[in-house]
Amino acid sequence: MRAGRLAAVLLTVLGYLLLAPLGQVVLAALCWLWRGDPRRRAHRFHAITARAYRFMHWWLSKSRIIEFDWRRTAGQLPSGPCVVVANHPTLVDVTAISASLGGAISIVKPGVYHRVMIKPLLVGLGHVEGPGSDPIRAGKVVDDIVERLAWGIPVLIFPEGTRSPPGGLMPFGRVAFEAACRAEVPLVCLGVTCDPVYLSKQVPPLRPPHPMPKLQIDLIAVDNPSPAEPSKALRTRTEMRYQAWLSKVAEAPRGS
C-alpha cells in the first residue's frame, strides 16, 4: 500500500510539473486580458482556482494520497468577506481551505511573491505581499488586506507565519486580528488536522504514511470583533480558543 501511495505521489508531482507551466501561461494571459478591473479579475480567478483545488483534492483522495472532503467543510463556513485564520500543519492547508471557501486571498512571502513566473498570477488573484523581515511593512500589509476584504473575498492568514509544530502552535502574529478589527469583518477560526501526519515539516511528500492520511477542517468559532476592540485582545482570545481545541483533539480517540 505504501509503495502504491508513493507511486501515486510521484505521478502527481510529475503531472503537476508538466501541467503547471501551461496553467501559469494561460492564467497570465487572462490576467493581462482582464487587467481593467482588479476586483472583478480577482473574483474570476478565484472561481477558476477554487475549481482547480477541488479537482486536485478529489485526485488526492481518489489516488489515496490524502483524503479530504471540501464539501463537508464548505457547509460550515459563513459567506462573504471575512478574515480566516487557521493552524497550519500541512502543505495543502491553503488549497483545502480555498477549495472549501470557493476562493481566498492569501499573504505570500516576498521572496515567492516576486518570482517572475508566478507574480502575474498572484497579482491577478489579489494575493498580498507579506511583510518579510521588515516589521514596518506590516502597516502596508494590513492596508492591503482591508482593501481586499472590501472586494468581498475572504482573506486567509496563518497567524503563526509558518507551519505548525505537531499537535501544537507557534505564537500568533497580530496582522490577521488587526485587519479584522479595522475592516470590521468576522474572524473565522478553522482547526486543521491531518491524521496520520503528512506533508508537515517532519513528514515530507516522498514519505507518505500508512494508513491514508485524513485531512479535516473544523470550524472552531466565528468572532465578530467590535470596532473599539484592540487587536491584541482578539489575538489572545483566539489563541486560547486554539489551545482548548488542540486539547480536545489530543484527547479524542484516533479516527473520530
Binding site: G139, V175, S231
Partner: protein
C-alpha cells in the same frame, strides 16, 4: 538630550504607546531583544512605535528599509537610529 536620557525616554514611550500596564520603563533592558523574545513585541507594535518616535523625535522610519529589523531590535539600537537620523537632519539643514 544625553544618551541616557534618550534611552530612558524611549523606554517610557514603549510602555506608554503600547499600554504595557505591568511593565516599568526602568525594567526594560537596554540591550535585550524587543521582538519575539524579551518584551515579545510584534510588527503592529513596531508600527505604533514608529509613529510615536516620529511624533516625539521627528524621526521617520522608512518602509522597505532593509535595516528596519536591526533598528528596532533593541532599545540601544533604537537610540542609535534616532541619534543618527537627528544628526543627518541637522547636517542637511546647516
Amino acid at each position: 538630550m544625553s544618551d541616557e536620557q534618550l534611552v530612558s525616554r524611549i523606554k517610557e514611550i514603549i510602555v506608554e504607546t503600547l499600554a504595557l500596564e505591568d511593565v516599568e520603563p526602568a525594567s526594560i533592558e537596554t540591550d535585550a531583544p524587543l521582538f519575539g523574545e524579551g518584551l515579545g513585541l510584534d510588527s503592529i507594535d513596531a508600527l505604533e512605535l514608529a509613529l510615536a518616535f516620529h511624533k516625539e523625535f521627528g524621526v521617520r522610519t522608512q518602509e522597505n528599509d532593509e535595516n528596519n529589523r536591526e533598528y528596532y531590535s533593541s532599545v540601544a539600537s533604537l537610540a542609535k537610529f534616532i541619534t543618527d537620523k537627528q544628526a543627518e537632519a541637522t547636517s542637511s539643514t546647516s
